[in-house]
Symmetry: C2
């Protein structure tokens, strides 16, 4: 029987495609094997198991998303950068729902593998870079980054879960949310007594 030419990467990509098509929890070893024209057991040469595969999909997605954001924000500053960053984030979640879902799973990723992935560190740099123009300093900077990431992630997650059943289109709320966040970053409230606790 001719070799299929599998690699860990090809298996991961097949899994990611499957995730986007039928949902992350429909990604099984068997399905991925079938898609690659191979028996289930053959995958275990390249991937430790289902958990490992899921982790690799998550890492792939994180990298891809970071790249999109980097492209989108390149050369922009201030609110332009904020909107480009956020739109790229949401766009990725929309076009790759399965991959995006994978990024939400608690980190059960092989640490050694994770160390090789450029995504996370780069993502952090991008976010801090985007906020540079607002003149925040630590620890406000970290807090602001966390607030932004929370809002972006929360919005697309709720959107995907069907949480916005209301009349008003999510798109409109999204635009207004970005307006609001921009305003907020420009007028970031000073820490008050007791906030260091």
């Amino acid at each position: 029987m001719a070799r299929a030419g599998l690699t860990a990467e090809r298996v991961t990509i097949a899994g990611a495609e499957l995730a986007d098509e039928v949902g992350l929890d429909q990604v099984t070893m068997s399905q991925v094997a079938r898609r690659l024209g191979v028996k289930d057991a053959s995958l275990y040469t390249h991937v430790r198991g289902l958990e490992d595969l899921r982790g690799r999909i998550a890492l792939l997605a994180a990298d891809e998303k970071t790249i999109r954001i980097a492209e989108a924000t390149s050369g922009r500053a201030g609110k332009d950068a904020l909107v480009a960053f956020a739109d790229a984030w949401r766009e990725y979640a929309h076009t790759h729902p399965g991959r995006y879902t994978a990024t939400q799973t608690p980190i059960r990723i092989d640490p050694e593998l994770a160390a090789k992935a450029p995504g996370p560190r780069r993502a952090v740099e991008l976010t801090y870079g985007m906020l540079r123009g607002y003149g925040l300093t630590e620890p406000d900077l970290t807090d602001a980054v966390r607030l932004l990431r929370s809002t972006f992630h929360g919005f697309v997650a709720l959107e995907a879960a069907g949480g916005f059943a209301h009349e008003r289109s999510p798109r409109q709320s999204w635009v207004r949310a970005l307006d609001a966040l921009h305003t907020l970053l420009e007028h970031w409230p000073p820490a008050r007594e007791g906030d260091s606790a």
Copy 2:
């Protein structure tokens, strides 16, 4: 063999407990049956299947969370109410991680069953009520509600996924995020040209 006295509700609760203990995706028919001292097949008298059980857990969680929030915000207004609301939300996610995860799944819930659940409607009322003091009007009100829900959900989701690896404690960032959101609600930016698109 003596009857176990199962009901759909008892099965759901067993599933919810299991979810909190070992994670939602470890909740299987077999495990739930084992916990109840019953054979797998017996569960199908009370619950349509695994999907259905998951949906019921999600509904249970939504109701419980809403109740906690209602209790916490009762009698409060303004920033007090905002903080109580948010803290109750986060607290629920922390103490019931499996149940909370269940609420994130896209709605595959039996519509008939969902109609009976008081949670969702009540949750919406609570949120709008909490914002009453800020003097917002539609459609800003809807946008603000969506922003808050996104941020709350996003924060606890990232927290649970290990997304806040930084030095600074999530608790501190949470407190500051609430400060920031309060400020934002007090100075909600007016809609600009083109925002209705």
